[in-house]
């Protein structure tokens, strides 16, 4: 039985708190201005209440990662469990990966002059723990799934506002947000 780890991002449960992103900074000791996970409010054309529904995105650990294909230094590897690992030590800072990723996952570290990105906390997974962002999520909006066994009819791969890239086949799955009945005074 194979494993293909992925994030399930439940937009219906997400409160946009950014705890996921800050937990990532905290555990992975990122540079002060660096983020590996960002939380994006949905455009009002997609969700009519501004700043009230979100995509929490890090690396999507694609099936066929553009970053890996574009890297001239072999600094990207894909583990058998699906995790796309970037090796900062061999990164030459050419930014090919940053330009090739349609999701903006790899980011440039200006001080150390290399790319870096979400590791899916594989060091934690290998120790039997969940990724730092998943552990932090106070509402269960962010969870870790195994795509090989994941079965949720409500989950979508390409919600509005998220680039559809079938060739890369990103692993993240999403649940769409509902809206309350609104009565205004």
């Amino acid at each position: 039985m194979s494993t293909r780890y992925a994030f399930l991002m439940d937009m219906d449960k997400c409160i946009g708190c950014r705890g996921c992103g800050m937990a990532c900074k905290n555990f992975n000791q990122l540079a002060p201005d660096m983020v590996w996970r960002q939380v994006y409010p949905l455009d009002e054309r997609i969700y009519p209440h501004r700043d009230r529904a979100f995509l929490s995105l890090a690396c999507n650990h694609c099936d066929d990662p553009a970053c890996l294909a574009a890297c001239p230094a072999g600094s990207y590897t894909k583990r058998p469990d699906g995790i796309v690992v970037h090796h900062q030590e061999t990164c030459i800072g050419c930014t090919n990966c940053i330009r090739s990723c349609p999701y903006g996952a790899p980011r440039f570290n200006k001080v150390e002059k290399h790319a870096e990105k979400c590791s899916l906390c594989h060091e934690r997974l290998d120790a039997g723990l969940t990724p730092a962002c998943v552990q932090a999520c106070p509402t269960g909006a962010l969870t870790l799934i195994d795509l090989d066994t994941f079965d949720n009819a409500n989950a979508v791969q390409y919600p509005a506002g998220y680039p559809a890239m079938p060739r890369l086949n990103p692993s993240t799955r999403f649940i769409l947000p509902r809206m309350p009945r609104v009565l205004r005074g």
Binding site: K13, I15, G16, C17, R18, G19, G21, M22, A23, K25, N26, F27, N28, Q29, P32, D33, M34, V35, V39, P48, H49, R50, D51, R52, A53, A73, G74, S75, T77, V85, H87, Q88, E89, T90, C121, H122, E123, R124, D126, A127, L129, A132, Q135, A136, C137, P138, T139, G140, P177, M179, P180, R181, V182, L183, R184, G185
Partner: protein, 756 residues
């Protein structure tokens, strides 16, 4: 630079490989020269760390239990304690910034003296020099006035760790001084619940899962108590309906089944309309109102005479049929509960609105019920010894005649008869009180666990008031606006550098706070600072300060504990808390479960003689709100990125929250010629704020919203335009009425030609 084992190991190993490659093992990788094999990082190994127990001491519902991972004497990272079902292993966006806060380059590292307040001309001084200057000034004041009432303390909720009440203790140990009393936070609601129930005592929030209908009324837990959201979600998964009532379409509202955008300050009318409909529809819990309450018939008569659902609809803006439908659903669902937020009592009629909601919940029979309740807050788990706080004045101290003494919701000292007492000034009118203080004037101010220039109202007036002070001492971690208005700043430890113990005013967990690392730089805890001051005072004038001259933080933490605390939490000693936080052993998750109320009658009081004696109506009658004197109502609630002025200043937080906005409805913005992202002036008769506008239908057309925060690089302060108008209630239990923070009015205009 701090590094994890698993990260450091990986980097170190590869650095070696690279060096070896360069030295001659060319072509080590397949198909290329000078390319080492990417190495797999070692699995994360928790055993490589020393783990300490900590607690987030900020003024927050959630008061998280923290696990702190230390290596080489350095905090490597933090996480939520998994033992607490409330914290549940995760902190919030603020809590995860703690490693940065400890090691921030912006921290105040040693005592400093500002040559010319506001000049920015700071120079480093020793602790000895700082304490000499402070002690000399205190003794000079005492000599000049014959008492120490010219020395004032303002302190509130910056750090709720119990040993930090040693700051109050330090003041008492010097003599009778001036204290700023009251709270800007929640006083009107505290008094309201005391009139109705005899105390403020909420259900265990973890029992929200049992509720079948939940009204979140003027609270925004998605931002301000995010650990409570999982209980709301769980309740909904079990079939509960969630209604959010708020003037703002909050993040919590977005997660509800239904949202009512109530006109601000009319929540009381809405609650009374709902109460009237309970009456009309025959949905009143007869058993409760007849057997567990007094004054119900009077209240029912008031409703019949003065309240209709149509009137409530017209006043609040919520359609009558929606009011009726929700009331019927609420009454049919057993149990049903209302979470009463602190925001909705920050009005000139705030206490009366809380009383009206209490009455609605009481009539529905949901008081004293698991999964029910009119939830506001509690202090049931705060029965510490207050050893640090309770210090004796030196012999012969002179103060205000009589034993009026300071008051506060966290004042557990109890009143003991004394000839003299401290002078109390209203914390919610800090600026005016400093300006008005006479006989003696306020000459010196000690500021700890508080940032008056970020929290206190009418900032322009506060500047004038501070100009009157002869010496200002701030105990701080960062160069805040208040520090800019100080003469001396003393560096205080973070929670990771001191021992203390923490309880919550919402959940029922108790957390130990261990010293995880040595104090950074020259930082000292509040009680260590008090001991140092005592040494300086006694060196100059023996007997002038009773505070111990040596303190051991751990010993002082232990001295706060007692058998009552141990029994309540089912532990034999504080040391058990090293294994993780403990939860109070509750006979029931419901407050008032035995229907024995702490009111004078021992019952729920729809009609409160005490309330009438204190100058309000005996019944929870409708009281109209503050009248506008400018076109827009301004609301300045909390954002998830900060707690008052804390956290937003950190560069880590700037990565997620770089800039504040004023939120304005698109239709109103259009009328004012304001486009999204424009620089605007938000102004009224007391001041102005320049900030970028963000157009949002989340606010009503006649409202604008700015979130309270301190940005280290921006000149942004909402208190420029928030005045010190009082709320109705609060004086009884907290010593001063609250503040009508959300009854503020402003105008708005494009600034600098708009697109700056």
């Amino acid at each position: 630079m701090k590094t994890h084992e698993h990260l450091a190991g990986r980097r170190g190993f590869l650095k070696g490989l690279l060096a070896a490659g360069a030295a001659g093992v060319l072509g080590s990788g397949p198909g290329s020269l000078l390319r080492p094999h990417p190495a797999e990082a070692a699995p994360f190994d928790p055993s490589a760390y020393e783990v300490f127990r900590n607690a987030c001491p900020r003024n927050c519902y959630d008061t998280c239990s923290i696990k702190t991972y230390v290596r080489d004497g350095v905090v490597q990272f933090v996480e939520g304690a998994p033992e607490s079902t409330f914290t549940n292993g995760g902190l919030c966006v603020k809590g995860y910034t703690y490693p940065r806060r400890i090691y921030s380059p912006d921290r105040i590292k040693y005592p400093m003296l500002q040559e010319g307040r506001g000049s920015g001309n700071w120079r480093r001084i020793s602790w000895d020099e700082a304490m000499s200057r402070i002690a000399d000034k205190i003794l000079e004041i005492k000599k000049r006035d014959g008492n120490l009432l010219g020395l004032g303390l303002t302190k509130y909720s910056g750090n709720f760790g119990i040993t930090n009440y040693g700051v109050e203790g330090m003041m008492s140990s010097l003599g009778y001084t001036t204290r700023f009393v009251g709270t800007p936070c929640w006083p009107a609601g505290i008094d309201a619940q005391n009139y109705d129930l005899g105390d403020m005592w909420c259900n265990d929030p973890e029992d929200l899962v049992k509720a079948r209908y939940i009204i979140v009324w003027g609270a925004n837990p998605a931002w301000c108590s995010m650990h409570s959201m999982k209980y709301l979600y769980a309740a909904r998964e079990r079939g509960a309906r969630i209604l959010v009532i708020d003037p703002i379409f909050t993040q919590t509202a977005a997660k509800a089944d239904e949202f009512w955008q109530v006109r601000p300050g009319t929540d009381g009318a809405l609650a009374l309309g709902m109460a009237r409909h309970l009456l009309d529809a025959g949905l009143v819990d007869r058993d409760f109102v007849q057997n567990a309450a007094v004054g119900y018939e009077d209240f029912a008569a008031y409703l019949k005479t003065n309240v209709t659902v149509e009137w409530a609809a017209k006043t609040s803006g919520i359609p009558a049929d929606a009011i009726r439908a929700a009331t019927e659903e609420f009454a049919a669902a057993k149990p049903a509960t209302v979470w009463i937020g602190y925001g909705m009592q920050r009005h000139t009629n705030g206490g009366s609105m809380v009383r009206a909601i209490d009455a609605f919940v009481a009539m529905s029979g949901n008081i004293g019920v698991e999964g029910g309740g009119a939830r506001y807050g509690h202090l049931q788990t705060w029965g510490f010894n207050y050893h640090a706080m309770i210090q004796k004045q030196p012999a012969g101290s002179v103060g205000v005649r009589g034993a009026s003494g300071p008051k506060g919701e966290f004042d557990f000292a109890g009143g003991e008869a004394a000839t003299y007492s401290d002078r109390t000034l209203n914390i919610n009118k800090t600026a005016q009180e400093i300006l008005d203080a006479r006989d003696p004037e306020l000459r010196m101010l000690w500021i700890a666990c508080k940032n008056p220039f970020a929290q206190d109202f009418d900032r322009n007036k506060l500047e004038k008031a501070f100009a009157k002070l002869e010496m200002v001492v701030s105990v701080e971690q960062f160069f805040t606006e208040t520090v800019r208005h100080s003469d001396i700043v003393l560096p205080v430890t973070t929670l990771f550098e001191e021992w203390t113990i923490n309880a919550s005013y919402w959940h029922y967990w108790l957390s130990l706070n261990e010293q995880a690392i040595k104090p950074m730089h020259e930082a000292k805890s509040n009680i260590e600072i008090a001991a140092l001051l005592s040494r300086a005072m006694n060196a100059r004038e023996p007997g002038s300060c009773t505070f111990p001259q040596e303190v051991d933080g751990k010993e002082w933490m232990i001295k706060e504990c007692n058998k009552g605390i141990y029994d309540l939490f089912g532990i034999s000693s504080w040391e058990e808390l090293r294994k993780g936080p403990a939860k109070a052993r509750l006979a029931s998750s419901a407050s008032w479960h035995d229907r024995t109320f702490k009111t004078p009658s021992g019952k729920y009081e729809f009609s409160s003689a005490l309330c009438a004696r204190n100058g309000f109506t005996a019944l929870p009658e409708y009281v109209e709100g503050r009248r506008p004197d400018a076109p827009f109502r301004l609301m300045t609630p909390h954002i998830q990125f900060g707690l008052h002025s804390q956290f937003v200043n950190l560069d880590w937080m700037e990565a997620y929250y770089p800039e504040p906005f004023v939120y304005i409805h698109p239709a109103s913005a259009r009328k004012k010629g304001i486009a999204d992202g424009d620089m605007v002036r938000v102004f009224n008769r007391i001041g102005e704020v320049r900030v970028r506008a963000r157009l949002s239908g989340n606010v009503a057309e006649d409202c604008v919203v700015m979130y309270e925060a301190w940005f280290r690089k921006l000149n942004y302060n909402v208190q420029n335009v928030v005045d010190d108008c009082a709320a109705d209630m609060g004086a009884m239990k907290t010593g001063a009425p609250g503040v009508a923070i959300h009854d503020q009015f402003v105008d708005i205009a494009p600034a600098d030609g708009g697109r700056a």
